[in-house]
């Protein structure tokens, strides 16, 4: 039903093609997952499905595409909108109107569907996604997951046969992501809708995937560009072994030679039990723990309470972060994590309680002053970037703090450590997501703060960028910097954090070493922990070492 034949596409003014000689077949009713690093061409590939490439983006396209007998290149997005629905990554940037109903009707209006039929279609689509209760609601009030489901509904209004989604869950928290993906699976299984999905979080969708398309990175040597880009496609179990970065379960399975490769924890448990019983395993408690001696500085929060308009958001929160340790702060959406961070840097004033850095209170100080000693990376690092070059961004912060002539850390050194030296004259907003985050990190760490507060730093990032971040955090850790990491990403916590604090409705409900917390809370368990209960292993390295087959860390 969907056929790409030697498709080659180059963006305008780009030096090399984004897609090179791609050939793909997708059958009717398949659930297809498109995987690959950031920037490798997944979005471009998806946009070929409905004609956005090349009609919206410009550039040159060679080869042919056929979707349900139609040619997007010739016919363009307006015609293709009846056959291919598209959902984008950012729930905030897809809606023209304010009400759910009206937004769904927008597509129908464009298609000049007669008004009498419109009502039925809107009802139908709302029903399909379980959104009937939200019909009259304003889109502003909805959660991220609800918004994305509305986006799916709008894409389905014209009854397309294919639904293409470009990383629809990367901006969402785990619960919302689950809602959205379940909705997709339902649509595929019950309605026979062909779904083509680009995702980083493979583990959630692998069990339902019929075909996995993997786009490896561009070839390392120029000479290889003449060849077709090697695209791997086929059933997941065939493609996964040849992929670079895979979810922990799969990686483990590949390393230990499990066959057939398990796609879910349930499938993997059989193999896991066998591996455990047939090898000399050791409990891993010694692998975890602070990697260096903690430094003397500490950031303490005691009995902190905050309320917004009489609604309590934080209740009696107390914890401490010492220099040289990485503490993760986890909790469901709305539990107050971001509020806590904002109180700590002075953006919000707590009702009661104390926040002290090395004994000196931070409450009442100006944010600008606090942030000399506490680096804070906000959820949207792009909010920080406005200068003309990367080097300039660092200088702006220094200038704000009057440290331009006496920088605590030479900016060039910092850029080096962040891996941005080659890009120091680039316009920050032209860079990739991971690079922009590192520029923002540079902008808040150029004052050499002793503590670092990070708010959801891995949203929308692929494995490579996450890996880079963990490396950076560990480097800083060895220098005695304390890190407080607010995140939903369990695997990140498993890899990087020493301690975990769990916040629920503004109160701390659990606090302790990561091994303890992550293995005891089902909501926050990494895959490895669920595979090997009772062993205290959290990451792939832990398991490999514990089973006696891996190298020590």
């Amino acid at each position: 039903m969907i056929r790409f034949d030697r498709l080659t596409y180059t963006y305008p003014r780009a030096s090399r093609p984004a897609l090179n000689g791609i050939t793909i077949h997708i059958g009717t009713g398949e659930f297809v997952l498109v995987a690959g690093r950031s920037g490798v061409g997944k979005s471009t590939l998806l946009r070929c499905l409905n004609g956005l490439v090349p009609h919206f983006t410009g550039g040159t396209l060679r080869g042919s595409i056929s979707i349900a007998g139609h040619d997007p290149i010739a016919e363009g997005p307006k015609v293709l909108s009846r056959f291919v629905g598209f959902v984008f990554q950012d729930p905030e940037a897809q809606f023209v109107l304010d009400r759910v109903e009206d937004e769904i009707a927008f597509a129908l209006e464009n298609g000049a569907v007669p008004p009498t039929k419109m009502r039925t279609r809107v009802d139908e689509v709302l029903n399909l996604l379980g959104l009937t209760a939200l019909r009259d609601r304003s889109l502003e009030e909805l959660s991220g997951g609800e918004k994305q489901r509305v986006a799916i509904a709008t894409a389905l209004a014209l009854r397309p046969r294919v639904l293409a989604l470009d990383e629809p869950t990367s901006q969402l928290d785990p619960q919302s992501a689950e809602e959205v993906l379940q909705a997709l699976v339902h649509l595929n299984r019950r309605m026979g809708l062909t779904v083509v999905l680009a995702e980083h979080r493979l583990e959630r969708v692998l069990p339902y995937t019929d075909q996995l398309i993997y786009l490896p990175g561009p070839p390392a040597r120029l000479a290889e560009e003449e060849e077709k880009q090697p695209v791997l496609s086929g059933p997941p179990r065939l493609v996964l072994p040849r992929m670079d970065r895979t979810p922990p379960l799969i990686t483990l399975g590949k390393q230990l030679g499990w066959n057939p490769l398990p796609l879910t924890v349930k499938e993997g448990q059989v193999f896991a039990e066998e591996a455990v019983s047939s090898s000399r395993y050791q409990a891993s408690s010694s692998n975890r723990g602070p990697k260096i001696v903690k430094s003397k500085t500490s950031l303490q929060v005691e009995r902190l309470s905050f309320a917004y308009d009489d609604t309590p958001i934080l209740r009696d929160v107390a914890f401490a972060v010492a220099g040289g340790e990485i503490v993760a702060l986890m909790g469901r959406n709305g539990s107050g994590k971001t509020t806590l961070l904002k109180c700590m840097v002075g953006l919000l004033r707590p009702k009661q309680g104390s926040i002290t850095l090395d004994g000196k209170s931070l409450i009442g100080q100006e944010t600008a002053a606090i942030c000399r000693k506490l680096g804070y990376l906000p959820q949207e690092p792009d909010d920080l970037l406005f200068a003309d070059s990367v080097a300039e961004e660092l200088k702006v912060t220094l200038r704000n703090h009057d440290l331009l002539d006496t920088p605590p850390v030479p900016p060039s050194e910092l850029l080096d450590r962040l891996g941005l030296s080659a890009l120091h004259t680039s316009y920050p907003r032209d860079l990739s997501v991971g690079q922009r985050q590192r520029v923002a990190l540079g902008a808040v760490t150029v004052t050499h703060p002793r503590f670092l507060l990070l708010d959801e730093p891995t949203r929308g990032m692929d494995y490579l960028a996450k890996h880079e971040l963990v490396r950076l955090l560990r480097e800083w850790q060895t220098e005695g910097v304390g890190v407080l990491l607010v995140t939903h990403d369990v695997e990140l916590v498993a890899q990087a954090a020493d301690r975990v604090i769990v916040l629920e409705q503004g109160e701390i409900v659990a606090q302790g070493p990561s091994v303890e917390i992550l293995t005891n809370a089902p909501l926050f368990s990494p895959q490895v922990a669920r595979l090997f209960p009772g062993t205290g292993w959290l990451s792939v390295e832990d398991a490999l070492i514990g089973l006696g087959t891996g190298k020590p860390a």
Partner: protein, 348 residues
């Protein structure tokens, strides 16, 4: 509630009524009518705006009175005598001039009140829906702007916080740069995402082909007629009717150009507003007002409309029939009051 189109007619009628008379009694009646409609029909919010109207009234009336008194030297009852050597201001300050100015201020207040009511009773969404088909794109721009405004405010706050975190303080104009630029850029980037989403849902420009030449021609002719007629009307009193006729013809030509463009828009509307009986009633009421004010209806004394305090101050005369005509604007209040009573009876 009334349809937004009915409200538009109402507001325009208020405007015409206010422009058509200088008799302070009528103007006060008009003002009271608009206030009454505002109080009964507006949703029960906006308490803080209660002071806006009286404040405006006081300022407008005083300022206009004063200004006119100081600059116009007509009238028989001098109150003060300013030295003659003052440029423009010299000469007697007469009571009549003050009164004349005050009446102007009163008129302005009535117009303000009418439009304030209009603003309160029509939700913005409904106004946007009124966009004629020819301006479909404009309607979409409006919708997007309205939808994005709360988001933009949130972005603004977030960006302010983000910049505070790197030591930024807003002290002068220049310090707004780190806030305005990210706001602008993130907004623009979002708009590209939005454009993609719109295109994916079948949004095509109103006319994928360029506009037919005859539509443009109609516009030119229409504008020409409008302009020509107006100039003629202003500068020569003998060809008045012809001039006005040309203007109306010009307006008609432009309207037909709009209609033609609308026809080429291939798109339908979900949930158009249903025109109800109460809307017709309200429009009829407005029609009554217009008729009584503009046309020489038998038994009414049209001359009472042209009150002038010059040369000597006199009491204005009130014709009850014309007053009754003005009450035609009160119909929305009665209609909505009835609805509200009925809905209070309904069990929730």
């Amino acid at each position: 509630m009334l349809d937004a189109r009915a409200w538009g007619v109402w507001a325009l009628t208020v405007l015409v009524a206010a422009s058509s008379t200088r008799n302070p009694l009528y103007v006060v009646l008009l003002l009271l009518v608009t206030m009454a409609v505002g109080i009964t029909c507006a949703p029960a919010r906006n308490q803080g705006e209660g002071m806006a109207l009286p404040r405006f009234a006081i300022v407008a009336i005083l300022a206009a009175a004063l200004f006119n008194g100081l600059t116009s030297r007509l009238g028989n009852t001098p109150l003060l005598h300013l030295p003659d050597w003052l440029p423009l201001l010299g000469g007697p300050l007469t009571l009549e001039a003050l009164v004349f100015g005050a009446i102007n201020g009163l008129t302005l207040t009535a117009i303000f009140s009418g439009f304030a009511t209009f603003n309160q009773v029509t939700p913005i969404r409904d106004l946007v829906r009124l966009t004629p088909r020819a301006f479909h794109d404009a309607g979409v721009v409006l919708s997007i702007a309205l939808t994005f405004t709360p988001q933009t405010i949130r972005n603004l706050n977030r960006i302010r916080e983000a910049q505070a975190v790197r030591g930024h303080r807003v002290r002068s104009f220049r310090d707004w740069l780190p806030i305005v630029v990210p706001l602008l850029v993130s907004g623009l980037e979002r708009s590209m995402g939005l454009a993609e989403a719109m295109v994916s849902r079948g949004y095509g420009a109103v006319s994928d082909q360029a506009q037919p030449l005859h539509t443009q021609g109609l516009l030119v002719l229409g504008l020409l007629a409008l302009l020509g007629g107006w100039v003629a009307r202003m500068f020569s009193s003998s060809w008045r009717m012809l001039a006005v006729g040309t203007m109306i013809a010009g307006a008609g030509l432009i309207a037909s150009a709009v209609w033609l463009t609308g026809r080429s828009v291939s798109h339908t509307t979900y949930r158009g507003h249903r025109w109800a009986a109460r809307d017709t009633l309200a429009v009829l009421g407005c029609g009554l007002t217009l008729v009584m004010l503009l046309l020489p209806v038998p038994l009414t004394d049209q001359s009472t409309l042209y009150y002038s305090p010059y040369p000597a101050l006199s009491w204005p005369i009130f014709d009850p029939l014309i007053g009754l005509g003005l009450l035609g604007l009160l119909i929305p209040a009665t209609v909505s009051a009835r609805i509200r009573d009925r809905s209070e009876d309904d069990p929730l």
